[in-house]
């Protein structure tokens, strides 16, 4: 096949997925999909569900996950456990153990036929605002069984030959909150697959099914070759790193992710041996999510590689059986997509920065910073659930300081402005500020986290958190210091408390005048702090990012009262320190 046809078909397949992403977001009703783009659309192989192409606008956490879901569906159909596909069918599934993430991520899969033969699958995932369970929204910090987290659906046909099965719909609607709004999202999710079917059909008509099939195979080979070429740039070695989840929300002990990455020949092996056992609380990860988190970390390092099965083929990700990164039924898993996945990506960064120090950053804040406040506003006479998400500092890298208030590693959604939050909810933000001193020291320092403080104005309310990096800050690399850890403080009736699990808690009762104060993590520093230009350290002090004492202690730079560098004192401080 000529190079042009191949490149054009690759662009065409990508376009099909991008248009599905767009159609889904544009017509979805839930802000979590319409605004936060917490969804993903792709094309998957008929025989094994391998990823053919996936939308570039999808939420990064789904990069490698959905092919597992497609694979399970195909296997179950083959085993006769699930009814065979017919034109116009759409299967719905959210079972985390069948290639999923958490229950809120609901997948739709539609078979794509050419001349009566199954050619491939179109599939998408959307994060539903609720799928039942013990708390609204599904993120219970204390769940110990998946049944407490919500309704679990095996693959069933929600649409049969183009018509929605009202009976299945009514089962779903009877088990979830704000059910009446879901119908709009269901239609949007199904309509996106229809857009994909139409556009993919145009590609088939233009190039023919046989050419398309050949091109898909070649594109996969080329992507694999591309990744192998990136791998060959690394030295042959093994790199190790650890990352810790603060606790599982039930048992207050850190969960350890131990990762060893080995480059041997054209293959990169990811081995999680030594990671913690499955946990009691919801910080377990299912295999598809663990796999996807590794792919996500790699994609962040090589942003330009295409998202298809070929790209990930040279990655030998060893299934971490017996650990909390390969949770089996009935372990609760609601924290896997938002938090554990970010810790896994962090371990990938910390290993590979050793291999490619010019290209990989120190650890980013790596938490979604979920804070939920629920109550009744007496002024409106209505109940509410307020969600506040916050970013944190990114890690420094070989070329620049880390970004401040960057989005979670796995997400792309923005925070709501303070002015919007105060319009909708009975709260007043006392501050929304850069968290001074939070960026880890380094030749290139980490970016800064956020420091906010929010006061309840009216009515009683309950606060919940699912955050992370409260026990240890995001690690610095190559001599850089760690970023500041996450901190949560509850100010109630004149006393201040810190949640037992530091970054995770639920149902904290608040009265008017009580305040919640959150400080999100700073990014890790990159390289030895003593190599940093003293003029930049002095600038950071003038800006109030750090105190003069911190500049002296961390960077060995003496900053004068006027904000300049005291050259002599700096030389003395730095004497004998390796730059």
């Amino acid at each position: 096949m000529d190079a042009l046809t191949l490149a054009v078909i690759q662009a065409g397949l990508q376009q099909v997925c991008n248009e599905m992403d767009l159609a889904f977001s544009r017509s979805a009703f839930s802000p979590v999909i319409a605004e936060a783009d917490d969804r993903s659309d792709g094309i998957y192989a008929a025989e094994d569900g391998a990823l053919i192409a996936q939308g570039e606008g999808g939420l990064p956490v789904f990069v490698g996950a959905m092919q597992h879901s497609a694979g399970h569906l195909i296997r179950l159909i083959g085993e006769g456990a699930v009814a065979a596909p017919e034109a116009g069918d759409i299967y719905i599934v959210n079972d985390p153990y069948l290639g999923g993430t958490h229950l809120m991520d609901v997948r739709f899969a539609r078979p794509f036929f050419v001349d009566g033969e199954l050619f491939c699958w179109l599939q998408n995932t959307g994060h539903w605002p609720d799928t039942g369970g013990m708390v609204p929204g599904g993120f219970s910090a204390h769940a110990t069984e998946v049944e407490q987290e919500g309704l679990r659906l095996p693959p069933v046909k929600l649409f049969k030959r183009g018509a929605m099965d009202r009976e299945i719909l009514s089962i779903i609607q009877s088990n979830i909150r704000v059910a009446e709004q879901r119908i709009g999202d269901i239609k949007a999710q199904a309509a996106a697959l229809l857009v994909g079917e139409k556009r993919l059909g145009e590609l088939v008509a233009r190039y023919g099914a046989a050419t398309l099939k050949d091109a898909i195979a070649l594109i996969r080979d080329r992507a694999a070759e591309r990744m192998r070429a990136e791998i060959r740039r690394m030295p042959a070695a093994t790199w190790r790193a650890e990352a810790f989840v603060d606790s599982d929300g039930v048992v207050n002990e850190p969960l350890r992710i131990a990762l060893a990455v080995t480059r041997q020949g054209d293959t990169l092996t990811f081995d999680f041996t030594g990671s913690s056992k499955p946990c009691a609380g919801p910080m377990n990860s299912v295999w598809a999510t663990t796999y996807s988190a590794v792919c996500l970390g790699v994609k962040h390092i090589f942003p330009d590689v295409p998202i298809n099965a070929g790209t990930f083929a040279p990655l030998n990700i060893v299934r971490p059986e017996g650990t909390f990164l390969d949770a089996r039924y009935p372990r609760p898993v609601s924290g896997c997509a938002a938090e554990v996945s970010q810790r896994i990506a962090e371990a990938v960064f910390l290993c590979l920065v050793q291999a490619l120090p010019e290209e990989v950053t120190a650890a980013p804040a790596g938490t979604s910073g979920n804070f939920a406040l629920g109550g009744t506003d007496p002024a409106r006479g209505a109940s509410y659930v307020m969600y506040q998400i916050t970013g944190g500092g990114y890690g420094g890298n070989a070329h620049e300081d880390g970004l401040s208030n960057g989005c979670s590693t796995i997400g792309i959604s923005k925070t709501a402005p303070v002015e919007v939050m105060e319009q909708y909810y009975p709260v007043l933000f006392r501050r929304f500020a850069l968290r001074e001193g939070s960026g880890g020291a380094g030749a290139h320092r980490g970016g800064f986290g956020v420091h906010y403080e929010v006061e309840l104005l009216r009515g009683e309310a309950r606060a919940s958190f699912v955050m992370d990096h409260g026990r240890f800050g995001p690690p610095g690399v190559l001599g850089g210091g760690d970023g500041a850890p996450n901190e949560v403080r509850i100010h109630r009736g004149g006393t201040t408390t810190i949640p037992l699990h530091l970054s995770k808690d639920q149902g904290i009762a608040l009265s008017p005048g009580d305040r919640v104060e959150v400080m999100t993590p700073g990014g890790g520093g990159y390289g030895a702090p003593y190599a940093r230009d003293p003029a930049l350290v002095a600038r950071d002090v003038r800006r109030g990012y750090y105190t003069a004492a911190q500049a002296a202690a961390s960077w060995g730079v003496a900053v004068t009262a006027e904000g300049g560098v005291d050259e002599a004192a700096t030389a003395a401080l730095r004497k004998g320190r390796a730059a």
Binding site: S27, G184, P303, T361, N397, H399, I412, R543, G544
Partner: protein, 672 residues
Amino acid sequence: MTRRIAGIDVGGTFTDLVMQEADGTIRIAKVPTTSANQAGGVLAAIEAAGTTPAALDLIVHGTTATTNAVLERKLAKVGLITTAGFRDVLELGRRTRPRAYGMSGSFEPLIPREWRREVPERMDARGAVVTPLDEAAVAREARALLAEGCEALVIHFLHAYANPAHELRAGEIVRSIWPNAYVTLGHALLSEFREYERGTTASVNAAVQPVLDRYIRHLQDRLAEAGHPRDLLVMNGNGGTVPARAVAQEAAKTVMSGPASGVMAAAATLAQSGVRNAITCDMGGTSTDVALIAGGVPEVSAELSIAYGLPIHLPMVDVRTVGAGGGSIAWIDRGGMLRVGPESAGSMPGPICYGRGGTRPTVTDANLLLGRLDPDALLATGRRVSVDEVREAFARDIGDPLGMTPEQAAEAVIRLANVLMAGAIRMVSLSRGHDPRDFALFAFGGAGPLHAVALAREIGIPEVFVPFRPGLTNALGCLVADLRQDVVNTLNRGLDDIAEDEIATVLAAQAARGRAGVEAGGAEVERIETRHVAEMQFRGQTHLIRVPLGSATPSRAEVQAAFEAAYFARFQVHLPEIRAVLVNLTTSVVGRRHAFDLRALAAGAAGEARLGTRRIYADGTWHEATIWRRESLAEGARIVGPAVLQQADATIILEPGSDAVVDSLGNLRVRA
């Protein structure tokens, strides 16, 4: 109407002029932009057109002075006075990163932290005072910022859109201290909620205000010395103009004016030709600007950004930039796949054929190699480069590794570039609820007409529209633009919470303010038109839908019905059970200037049109294409592809199988 009016647009490379004589005839000029001070190019353009400033009755001016200032960060030193606890809003933004994948990248706010000062004060979301304004602190911080050398100042308080009392009072205090007029109040420029976007818009305004003010004063002085003491009109990003004396006050509105004037020219051209729906495509060296004109009206957005982290939330012509252009570099990735872009050779070093040191093959080089660009007419400013050199580069970098001839490689590069651009254009139009196949493709700029026919085929667009002067479109936009003022206020309340007469009261006040702005310049307008738009959403959503209001005194029921109709038109969904929220009310007051008859542009087509033939490569083989001088084609002339139409400011390729007719305005209407 016997007036001599000149539209003068300063672009990155050229300063263009289109001028209408008192008798209706047209003069044009194209001179190099003088980037250090754009005034030099403006005067040179007037001279090149064979006239003098003294002979002109009116100059309408489009400038990139503020655009360049922001992109190159050559800005005034700005201080900020803001609500205690919130000075970092401008630095923290909304929790984003520059790209979806990749954890690197950086952002520096326009106002560094040491010049962002806090004062005690606070309003709540309903505009009630929580903490009174500390007036002494305002004076203290203003003096401190002045001592630090700040030239401009922003006062930006939380919820000032709901109650501007503290900002207004702080403004009074500061103005008694500040030595110049460069004081921007956040709510005065943009009375919308969202503190980061409003504050950033204000900081952009303050940072470019002294730059624009100095430039316009200097230009006015130079013109006055040359005998033109009259006030200029200056283009804004909303596609309208404002009098020069008022433009600096809202300087941020000029930041994205360049692309807007091109779209306004397109709209005027299409309107006189009876075409109502078009996608405009202005392909340049590093990027391509795409806009939609639906029902004759350019789409407007108040949610554009000039760069990462720099949103400017003022109503502006909705021009989206696609990162592909003539300078996009062709390469083969580590997996052996042919790629085009996103890296661009830009203008320095530029494509190989520019002779400025470029060594990697680009889309423009591919066009040259395939005979689509005339090697003898190339605007090479550097060393003279032979076609053989370009051929060698395609062989070395693309052809040999992929087993193709250099010509096959070059054609593959153009095809792939078109496929990628077509995909991006589809996304731009689909994201606004339009199927691009219902539109014509309006191609302008230097490289737009070169790719337009192939691009239209790729998207499935049946008709390509190339205006008579594709390389002077922005200057023409200045000539045809009306005066315009947009006024916005945020209500952000459920429609059923709004008093029956409140909407009409707000609209009346906005219309009065806009009208005063239009009339302030004393420029000649034939009539004033006022348009009202409600920006609405269903409770719980954050995307806004623009709902044109048919009346200045609509009832709530009429607004509800208009919203539901607009929502259904876009999403095919009825949501009767959910409350509608009225977020913003926008009033646009347009002072219509005397309409410009575009027939004058193409008048006097004369001379031999046919220049001969040249080989061009298309569909895998060489074709003998006819070559035409575009300016000499008379009305009704029909050209069948393969053909190349050359003119001073652009080259148009008619692919084999396409054909074109010259219409009565001199436009080329191509059946792709």
